[in-house]
Amino acid sequence: MPSRSRGLWVFAAFFLLLLCGGSAGFCLAADTIAIDVGSVYASNSGKEIDPSLVHIRGKLEYMFDYSSYRLLDRKRQRLSEGEKNDFELPDKRSMRIKVLFVDEKKVRLYVRIQEKEKKLLGTTLGLSRGGMVLVGGPVYESGVLIFLISAD
C-alpha cells in the first residue's frame, strides 16, 4: 500500500475515533453538571473587591453592607444525577452537595453545610442551569462568609 494511502487510512481512523469520542463526550456533558462553589470573605476592613467577582460586584454591593469582598477559595466539580461531593470550606466547615435531578435546563440539589459535626444548613434548591444562589452568614474573622453556589 502506498505510504500516502496508508497515511490517509490512519487519519480516517482517528477521525472516526474523534466522532465516537465527541458523541460520548457530548452525552456525558448533557447528563452531568458542573457545580461551582466559591467562598467569599465579606468584611468592612478595606475596600477590596476580588476581580473574579466583577460580574456580580454591583449586586453584592447593593444587597450587602460590606466594603470588601475577597474570594478565599473556589472549587469546581462535575457531578451527575445521584452523585454527591464534599467541598471543603474555610474555617473547617464543609459543604456536601448531592445532585437530586438534572436535565438540560434544570437541576435540583441538596446542600448541607457542616460545622463541627453539626448541621449548619440543610436545604434543597432548584436552579436553572447557569443559575446561582448565595448562602451567607457564617462568621469569619472580622466579617462573614458568603458562599456562591452555581450549577452549569
Binding site: 474523534l18 469520542g21 452568614g137 452549569d152
Partner: protein, 160 residues
C-alpha cells in the same frame, strides 16, 4: 675524463631515484658505453625501479577501489534509509497530530465549561428554595427580585 665503476654505480642509483645531476649524465653514459658490467647494473636498476613503481601503482589502484566501494556502500545506505525514514516520520506525524487533536477535543468536551480562574458570571438567578433547616443557627431567605441572587442567610447565635 672518465669515472670508475664505483662512482658509476653511485650515479646509476641516483639516476634510478631521479636525482642524477644534469652534468653527470654524460660522464655516466660515457662509462656505461665502455663498461659492460655497469651497463648491466643500470639495466637491473631500471627494471627494479619499474617493478617497484608498478607495485605502488597497483596498491594505490587497489586502495582507491576499496575507498570507492566504501563510499558506494555509504551512499547506498543513505539512499536506502532515506525513503523508509521519510515514510515513518510522515506516519508518526499523522498519528501524533491526530492523537493530539483527539486529546484536545476530549479535554474540551469533558472539562467543565470555563476554568476556575474565570470570573463568576451567572446567567440567571432563577432559584427555588424548597426547604431550609439548621441544627445550630437561624436561617432566613432573602428574595430581592429576579435580577438579584436569592440569598440564604445563616445567623449563628445572633452573631452575623
Amino acid at each position: 675524463m672518465t669515472i670508475d665503476c664505483g662512482a658509476a654505480k653511485t650515479l646509476i642509483e641516483k639516476r634510478a631515484d631521479g636525482l642524477l645531476p644534469p652534468g653527470a649524465e654524460k660522464e655516466l653514459d660515457a662509462h656505461l658505453s665502455s663498461c659492460r658490467e655497469c651497463a648491466d647494473e643500470q639495466s637491473r636498476s631500471i627494471a627494479v625501479g619499474r617493478l617497484l613503481r608498478s607495485g605502488i601503482d597497483a596498491r594505490a589502484v587497489s586502495a582507491q577501489s576499496g575507498l570507492d566501494m566504501m563510499w558506494t556502500r555509504v551512499r547506498a545506505g543513505i539512499e536506502e534509509k532515506k525513503p523508509i525514514g521519510g515514510v515513518l516520520s510522515r506516519r508518526s506525524w499523522t498519528a501524533f497530530s491526530a492523537g493530539a487533536f483527539a486529546l484536545i477535543l476530549f479535554a474540551l468536551l469533558l472539562y467543565p465549561a470555563g476554568p476556575d480562574q474565570s470570573p463568576f458570571n451567572p446567567k440567571t438567578f432563577d432559584v427555588s428554595v424548597e426547604d431550609v433547616e439548621s441544627d445550630i443557627a437561624v436561617v432566613t431567605q432573602l428574595n430581592m427580585g429576579e435580577d438579584l441572587p436569592r440569598v440564604i442567610w445563616i445567623v449563628e447565635d445572633a452573631k452575623s
